[in-house]
């Protein structure tokens, strides 16, 4: 098994790379258009949005955060679900959770193919203004901005520590 850790506060290249590979394949399949990587968004404030977080534990502990900003959430949700979803409804949380869940499942398989075994949590949903999970100090993170059609999607990859994960284990 290749060693993946967050030594010296650095993000191992493999994590953002598998996320980008998954985004490219999975979102193209869901939205029938290729997602455009706009760039790094580490210092970008997102404003109002719905956030889904999935934790991964196993050979490496980390989390994946997906944000749909309010400005384009309804349009993105319509493309995903095939029916209108109100921004303020619980269903918008379902959409964000499901998008994150589908990505996470693909990421688990991609990491497994690299002999890195992880299991994923159920998604945790939050909503609000510039919502971010509180991350442990000294662990790295990378935030990426994508455009799908006219809609924006943000993804954050963050290192975490064993036992400090977000999200429930399936079946609990």
């Amino acid at each position: 098994m290749p060693t993946i850790d967050f030594k010296e506060g650095k993000m191992p290249e493999v994590l953002p790379q598998v996320v980008m590979d998954s985004v490219s394949d999975i979102f193209k399949s869901i939205f029938s258009s290729t997602p455009e990587f706009v760039g790094n968004a580490d210092n970008k404030a997102i404003g109002d949005g719905v956030v889904g977080i999935i934790s991964f534990v196993g050979d490496v502990s980390w989390l994946l955060m997906l944000v749909l900003p309010k400005s384009s959430a309804q349009e993105t949700a319509l493309k995903f679900a095939g029916f209108e979803v109100d921004y303020d409804s619980p269903d918008m949380g379902d959409v964000v959770g499901e998008l994150n869940n589908v990505l996470a499942g693909d990421i688990v398989a991609r990491l497994s193919a690299k002999d890195v075994k992880v299991t994923m949590s159920l998604p945790t949903i939050m909503r609000g203004h510039d919502v971010e999970p509180l991350l442990p100090r000294g662990l790295p993170s990378v935030k990426m901005h994508y455009k799908i059609g006219d809609g924006d999607i943000y993804l954050k990859v963050a290192g975490s520590q064993e036992g400090q994960t977000v999200g429930r284990t399936p079946g609990t």
């Binding site: 679900a81 095939g82 619980p90 379902d94 994923m120 159920l122 399936p170 609990t172």
Partner: protein, 127 residues
């Protein structure tokens, strides 16, 4: 294949995913009144006890009772053990598929999928 009279139970903790699957099923010709749903495995078991079904379509990753535990509970229940079961999941690892096959799943579909891909899996179950 005519699906109009087939009774289906859709189990997923996400209301949006249940509706997406139900819309796909209607598109494939399943009767509106023949599609029931439940939000997790334990609610699914309750629904199965209330009526007869020709097919169960269930998500894997759910709170309370996962899809795999739901499948095992069905296969352990004498009157329900032969119900065809289609597992829906976001995880495509070989180990996961093997686990589902060993538990008695009839078919397995990885998200994201469309109505045509769902139809293909259902046809394989009923053929």
């Amino acid at each position: 294949m005519a699906f109009e009279s087939k009774r289906v139970l859709v189990v997923d903790d996400s209301n949006v995913m249940r509706n997406i699957i139900k819309n796909n099923l209607k598109q494939l010709g399943f009767g509106h009144d023949n599609i029931a749903d439940a939000e997790d495995g334990s609610m699914g078991m309750k629904k199965l006890g209330e009526g007869s079904f020709d097919l169960v379509i269930s998500d894997w990753n759910m709170p309370k009772m996962t899809g795999i535990d739901f499948l095992k509970a069905i296969r352990a229940e004498g009157s329900l053990k032969d119900i065809p079961f289609l597992m829906v999941t976001s995880e495509s690892e070989k180990e996961k598929i093997m686990e589902a096959v060993q538990a008695g799943v009839n078919q397995y579909i990885v998200k994201p999928f469309n109505a045509n891909q769902l139809e293909e899996k259902i046809n394989q179950i009923f053929s």
